[in-house]
């Protein structure tokens, strides 16, 4: 079902309503009676994908209403379609993005959404099973973007090794270059490291915690944006919320990190240094998560591309600067 792409559909842009809609719907003329409508449905219904939502058009093919099979069935046979139809019908434009049609279907629970052209002429319908497929594809695309893999519509098992690699290598390369910037930062602290190599022992933990915290905040924000729960206007609220979360999480981690470092066999001065760095890392991570996703939204880039990989690099750089500076100040090296 779904996706029966008429040749004509290919003229519409990719991912548009026109591309995915079906042209197999039941169209009723405003002056039919309920009995006429039944006869008509019986005549054409066999070839139609969806006979449960019928659309009513006027003489010039313009969409003026909708009537469900349920209403037809429960109505008097002599009534006119125009009298029983629902005139306030939500429709989509043929050039709309399929994602917005999908959200409408999910939001309103419609079986189908009519698609009209600029003159409000009915040209097709988008059905609930299309919505299911679109939702699945969009989520997959977001997952891939968030993991820095180029989008692909070919199923995993039928994609060759070379192609799979090429979807991933460019991003990894780009990220290694970003990560070298962090490397230069570390290099400028080389003297401190030579004096106190023990500092390095906590670098993996700090980096991983920072990366993870940043992934957490960016993921919830990206998903919230994708679902329309969070918009640009909420930037202040989100920042404030992430800041509060950072302090709660940071305070808790301060304690657990302190204990961990002591058990690891370091003194309390070192423990305090690592803990302060940890607290700073959590705050930096969460705020960077907010900043990057909202920046993406502002410049109209999909926030999903700002997720984990890019984010982690920025967080690492900032977290290490804080860590080594703290170490220099507190441990006097």
């Amino acid at each position: 079902m779904g996706n029966n792409t008429d040749l004509k559909n290919l003229e519409y842009p990719e991912d548009s309503a026109g591309r995915i809609m079906t042209t197999e719907y039941v169209e009723l003329i405003y002056n039919m009676t309920v009995a006429d409508a039944f006869t008509y449905i019986q005549e054409v219904g066999r070839e139609k994908q969806n006979i449960y939502t019928c659309y009513v058009v006027n003489k010039s093919q313009k969409l003026i209403g909708m009537v469900s099979a349920r209403t037809l069935l429960l109505s008097d046979q002599d009534l006119f379609v125009v009298d029983i139809m629902e005139p306030n019908v939500l429709s989509a434009n043929v050039l709309d993005d399929q994602e917005s049609l999908m959200s409408d279907i999910v939001k309103y629970g419609f079986i189908a959404l009519p698609v009209v052209d600029d003159d409000r002429k009915l040209v097709g319908v988008f059905t609930y099973d299309d919505a299911f497929n679109v939702q699945e594809e969009e989520v997959t695309e977001d997952f891939r973007k968030m993991a820095a893999v180029s989008p692909s519509e070919v199923p995993y098992l039928s994609t060759g090794v070379f192609k799979l690699s090429m979807q991933r290598i460019p991003w990894l390369l780009l990220l290694t270059i970003f990560a070298s910037i962090t490397g230069f930062i570390v290099e400028s602290y080389e003297e401190s490291l030579a004096v106190l190599p023990a500092l390095v022992a906590f670098v993996p933990m700090l980096m991983n915690t920072g990366g993870n915290a940043g992934t957490q905040s960016s993921t919830v924000i990206i998903r919230g944006m994708a679902l329309g729960e969070i918009g640009l206007v909420d930037s202040f609220k989100v920042t404030w919320k992430e800041l509060s979360v950072s302090f709660i999480v940071g305070a808790m981690l301060f304690v657990t990190t302190y204990v961990s470092v002591l058990f690891f066999g370091e003194g309390s001065v070192m423990a305090i240094t690592v803990c302060l760095a940890m607290l700073a890392t959590i705050i930096i991570s969460n705020l960077t998560g907010v900043f990057l996703t909202f920046l993406a939204k502002l410049i109209k880039v999909d926030p999903a591309v700002m997720a984990a990989p890019l984010l982690t690099n920025i967080i690492d750089a900032l977290a290490l600067i804080v860590y080594f500076s703290l170490a220099r100040a507190i441990l006097r090296i």
């Binding site: 690699s165 992934t215 959590i282």
Partner: protein, 443 residues
């Protein structure tokens, strides 16, 4: 429109408001209602017709539902609960505090009360908790004309009339017939002759994932749900499944970012709850210091002698983290949408190993050139590249292996996710890197 409703409310007679309420669909009305102040919500809600009020109520936020229930009379409560589809009623009651539940249940018929209590007992996330009982059931000895008569007399209260269910005298499900078939059939044909007997059904304890999986295959408008004895107890409709699909995706996103899943929308969750959801894995990462930190500590003398090698650590660790999440994300998602199954275990693993080798080699070569061009010693470039190859290879292989193993062990593949993966890969990378560095130093 939010301003409009608030303004129109002040007009004498409120006729234009009545018109807007009449012509706006229930989902949008619920959105608008949520934006109004406490007292206005009740006033507007009371202006709605009985049927519309129930539909709007079903779409409201639980906090608004609660406010309304507290403000209206017992009689009004009864009307609303009677009008609600059972699945919406159960959803609502499930989220209410005990005193509200008590008041609501004392105002409905004994029959409804028993049904609601029974539905509340189905495990969360099971087909039983998603289904509703407002379906059309037909008998096999009816003819098409009888069926239409039956639908006409009962159809207004049904959630869907487009798929009708045929039951025997013991209420066991024996067939399914679509409204389309009824429409296109001759009026005198018997239901038993036109019904489909090889239909798909779910049982009350099926999980949401199992429902989504059949929906993916069949795109039904509704799926019948039977109990252990094959007795028809309800249906799950497509609109609920679309919402389930959205929720499951959100849950997977959260799990993969190493968080406990939450059902509350972001802006409505308290900072404390959010902190609680994020804490466990972050604390776990604290303990990773005993693995990765311990490894680093063992090689402290190398760091002291050759501190430059530390400057490549962030790059190695980030790249391995990214390479691992690429593989695990793709595998987790492919498993979720059933693009790959557990029977593909070896095919997938073999494929990822080859991808890992390829990516590792390409990255190592390019990195070698880059490090040399930056003016580092060729030996340094060599160990960094060798470690980068190891990191990429291990990250990708483990990234694919862990979700696959999770499925083998019947665990959710999305859960294992990043922290464990990162710790394993970081530890292996550090060991390789420092040992190579040691070799070079001795030469």
């Amino acid at each position: 429109m939010d301003k409009e409703i608030a303004i129109l409310l002040k007009e004498p007679g409120r006729n234009s408001l009545r018109q807007i309420l009449e012509s706006t669909n229930t989902v949008d009305l619920a959105d608008e209602l949520e934006k109004l102040d406490g007292q206005d919500v009740i006033i507007v809600f009371r202006m709605l017709s009985k049927v519309k009020a129930a539909e709007v109520f079903a779409h409201l936020d639980h906090s608004v539902q609660q406010a309304i229930i507290k403000a209206i009379t017992d009689r009004e409560i009864k009307v609303i609960i009677d009008e609600l589809f059972l699945d919406d009623a159960v959803d609502f009651i499930d989220e209410m505090p005990a005193d509200v539940v008590k008041r609501v249940l004392s105002n409905v018929t004994a029959e409804t009360r028993i049904l609601i209590n029974q539905f509340l007992q189905y495990p969360e996330d099971s087909a039983g908790s998603l289904m509703t009982i407002e379906y059309v059931d037909l008998k096999s000895n009816m003819n098409v004309a009888d069926a239409f008569k039956h639908i006409r007399s009962t159809g207004t209260d049904k959630e869907t009339i487009y798929t009708c269910y045929v039951t025997d005298n013991a209420r066991r499900l024996i067939g399914v017939v679509s409204a389309r078939t009824l429409f296109l059939a001759d009026k005198t044909q018997l239901i038993r002759d036109i019904m489909k007997t090889d239909f798909v059904f779910a049982t009350t304890h099926d999980t949401r994932d199992e429902l989504l999986s059949s929906f993916r295959e069949l795109s039904f408008l509704a799926i019948p749900v039977v109990d252990n004895e094959g007795i028809l107890v309800g249906i799950v409709t497509f609109d609920d499944l679309l919402v389930v699909q959205e929720e499951e995706a959100t849950e997977d996103f959260e799990k993969m970012a190493a968080m406990s899943p939450s059902e509350e929308p972001y802006l409505k969750s308290s900072a404390l709850l959010m902190a609680k959801n994020r804490m466990p894995w972050l604390v776990f990462l604290n303990f990773s210091v005993f693995i990765t930190g311990a490894i680093v500590a063992r090689y402290e003398n190398i760091i002291a002698a050759l501190p430059v090698i530390v400057s490549f650590l962030p790059m190695l660790m980030d790249t391995s983290g990214d390479a691992g999440s690429q593989s695990s994300t793709i595998i987790i998602r492919a498993l979720a949408i059933e693009e790959i199954k557990i029977s593909d275990f070896w095919a997938v693993l073999w494929k990822e190993i080859r991808v890992a080798l390829f990516c590792g080699v390409v990255l190592a070569i390019i990195n070698y050139i880059r490090v040399v061009l930056l003016g580092y010693d060729a030996n340094i470039a060599l160990i960094v590249s060798a470690a980068l190859f190891t990191a990429t290879f291990l990250a990708k292989t483990f990234g694919a292996l862990l979700p696959l193993c999770a499925v083998l062990l019947k665990l959710d593949p999305a859960v294992m996710a990043v922290p464990i993966l990162t710790t394993i890969v970081d530890a292996s990378t550090l060991v390789v890197y420092f040992n190579l560095a040691k070799l070079i130093m001795h030469n």
